[in-house]
């Protein structure tokens, strides 16, 4: 007779079991529990028994360990149950700021936290950089940055970014557009011909600053493809993803791109570590500083970030921007994508309310054809999603599904066949076509209203 194979759980089921066993352990031992998940997805239970050490061979501990291992196999950590009293550096786990609260302690039941180590993606749920070291200048910089994001690509995000930049400059603002779509850059081409692209880009800053060599890069240029109209003193600057090397220079974009996403150790011993979020913030700040040196401080910074669940988008939306425009088309895969994203954010209750106030849905390429009901349908779906995930039960938005300035209230960008395949460099006057202005009018005026006032003129 052959022995049946041990029961096994797939990745998701194993984690669900691990969390359930963590809750049971918090109840059984009356102690705080941290459930860890390592790079391969293997889980361990860490029981904080430092105040009243448990014997490692206590029947309760052994049975919890055996049950946990059986339920999570093969996603079980090297030691299924670890006692805090036996750890060398327990605070690395029980006091880590990376923990996510699963349940608070109540009565004689301990709290449960999850602590995960992933290859990438921790920025989706980590606390905002600016919240860790806030000062007035940091807040002002963040408030002036607008993240342009779409869960799905191909919804006209980059074109809308260029149009918005042009509109705001027409109104006298100094605008900087940063191309953060590093895997498929493009917005710079809407703003400038290839000959006007600066020598370096965001990826150059990320690889050079990693070795303390970030000064002296040429990161920004003034866009000429969208001439500012009339008497306005507005300006459009842009920072490309990658620069255009000078004649005879070589630039291996892919070699740089493949090295940028790491969290790094301090450059100098004793300094703080440099997570990716901080490094990207420094790259954007360097671009802003260059515009300020060459002309004046940017009033608005548009961050064109790539689609999908990606670290760039995670950092930009949750850490680096004061306003995040979520481009949406009314189809199931888009809503399912945003639901995944919002459920990630909901795990960090400590900063979700701050985040919600910075979000706005954009109804991208909205083919209204005079049918207002379609926009209302999109609004209802957006409302349902926000109400299910990010809105607190006592939020005023819950009772106002049709509130105009709520995060779920869609800002429409109309759809026109004439926009498909537009080559802005061949027709630099394209933004002035009446059709184009009509398409973007509600979008540009609404976003302008949501922005901070321009910097005062220097006296």
């Amino acid at each position: 007779m052959t022995t049946p194979p041990p029961p096994s759980a797939r990745f998701d089921a194993a984690w669900k079991q691990a969390l359930a066993h963590a809750g049971q352990a918090a109840q059984r031992f009356g102690m705080d529990v941290v459930v860890t998940r390592d790079l391969l997805g293997r889980a361990s239970l860490l029981v904080d028994d430092r105040a009243a050490p448990l014997p490692a061979d206590a029947p309760d501990v052994l049975s919890a360990s055996a049950a946990f291992a059986a339920a999570t196999h093969p996603f079980t950590g090297l030691e299924p149950v670890v006692l805090g009293s036996l750890l060398f550096a327990p605070d690395l786990f029980f006091a880590s700021s990376d923990r996510t609260e699963i349940s608070a302690s109540h009565g004689s039941v301990g709290s449960v936290h999850a602590l995960e180590r992933t290859v990438i993606g921790t920025d989706w749920t980590s606390a905002p950089v600016s919240a860790q070291a806030p000062n007035d200048e940091d807040w002002d910089r963040r408030d002036r940055r607008v993240a342009m994001y779409g869960f799905k690509g191909g919804v006209g995000r980059s074109t809308a970014t260029a149009m918005l930049a042009r509109y705001l400059a027409d109104r006298g603002r100094c605008v900087l557009v940063v191309d953060l779509d590093l895997e498929s850059p493009g917005v710079s081409n809407l703003l400038e011909s290839p000959s006007g692209i600066p020598r370096h880009g965001i990826v150059d800053h990320l690889v050079e600053a990693a070795v303390g060599h970030g000064d002296g890069l040429e990161l920004v240029a003034r866009g000429t493809a969208l001439p500012v109209r009339g008497e306005s003193n507005g300006e459009v600057w842009f920072a490309p993803a990658g620069g255009t090397p000078r004649a005879g220079e070589r630039s291996d974009y892919l070699a740089k791109l493949n090295r940028i996403y790491s969290d790094l150790a301090p450059l100098t011993p004793g300094d703080s570590p440099r997570p990716f979020a901080t490094r990207l913030e420094q790259a954007i700040s360097a671009c802003e500083n260059q515009v300020a040196e060459l002309s004046r401080r940017p009033d608005v910074v548009l961050l064109d970030c790539r689609a999908g669940m990606h670290d760039i988008a995670a950092v930009t939306l949750t850490h680096l921007s004061g306003l995040a425009l979520l481009f949406t088309v009314d189809n199931p895969s888009t809503w399912e994508g945003y639901r995944m994203l919002f459920e990630q954010w909901r795990q960090r209750q400590d900063h979700v309310s701050d985040l919600v106030e910075r979000l706005r849905v954009v109804a991208a390429m909205f083919n209204s054809a005079g049918d207002i009901n379609r926009l209302l349908a999109l609004q209802e779906r957006a409302y349902n999603l926000f109400a299910d995930t990010l809105y607190e039960p006592d939020s005023t938005y819950i009772s106002a599904p049709d509130a105009e300035d709520a995060p779920h209230s869609p800002i429409p960008i109309l759809f026109g066949n004439d926009l498909i395949g537009l080559d802005p460099l061949r027709s630099s006057a394209w933004p002035e076509l009446p059709m184009v202005e009509a398409v973007y009018q509600t979008f540009t005026t609404t976003v302008e209203r949501l922005l901070p006032s321009p910097h005062p003129e220097p006296s």
Partner: protein, 168 residues
């Protein structure tokens, strides 16, 4: 000559590192600086060997000595030109850790330990210093060695539970 297989149980460098570290802390409290410094270095040695074996590909020889099988050829700048990859004492052991960690293409493993590798905190430590008269041993030496040993042991423990991500 081939070393005879050891009849002792295989070494447990992780546990030994913690024992030596705790002993070093006790010795510091009793102001036994020479012992404290000696034990701090041994704690760090054991932690490094545990890291090398658990995460960076080192193995135990039949006689219980740890070595790295890919490190048989001496680095041109190394002092021990005929090093066969065997892990011995600090401060040379630190250079071996650095060499092995930097050889790894595994970004995550490299990152975890790169934070520990800036400079060798044991450059001024010698296992023979347990015979010294203590007149040149300062509190700063002992504190630095203790902290380095602590960080190495914590890094090994964290990597065992969470995988080899960063220490951020």
């Amino acid at each position: 000559m081939t070393a005879a297989p050891s009849t002792s149980p295989p070494p447990d460098f992780a546990r030994a590192s913690v024992h030596h570290y705790r002993s070093a802390v006790l010795a510091t409290g009793a102001r036994w600086q020479i012992s404290a410094d000696h034990l701090a270095g041994l704690a760090a040695e054991c932690a490094i060997k545990a890291i090398l074996i658990s995460f960076l590909g080192s193995e135990l020889k039949p006689n219980g000595m740890p070595h790295h099988p890919e490190m048989k050829f001496a680095h041109p700048q190394r002092r021990q030109r005929n090093w066969d990859g065997q892990h011995g004492h600090l401060p040379a052991l630190w250079e071996q850790l650095t060499a092995v960690a930097h050889r790894r293409n595994d970004t995550a493993a490299g990152l975890l330990f790169s934070q520990l590798l800036w400079e060798n905190p044991f450059a001024d430590w010698d296992v023979g210093d347990r015979y010294c008269d203590g007149t040149t041993l300062t509190k700063e030496h002992v504190d630095r060695h203790l902290k380095a040993a602590h960080d190495l042991i914590a890094a090994h423990e964290q990597a065992r539970i969470l995988g080899t991500g960063t220490l951020v």
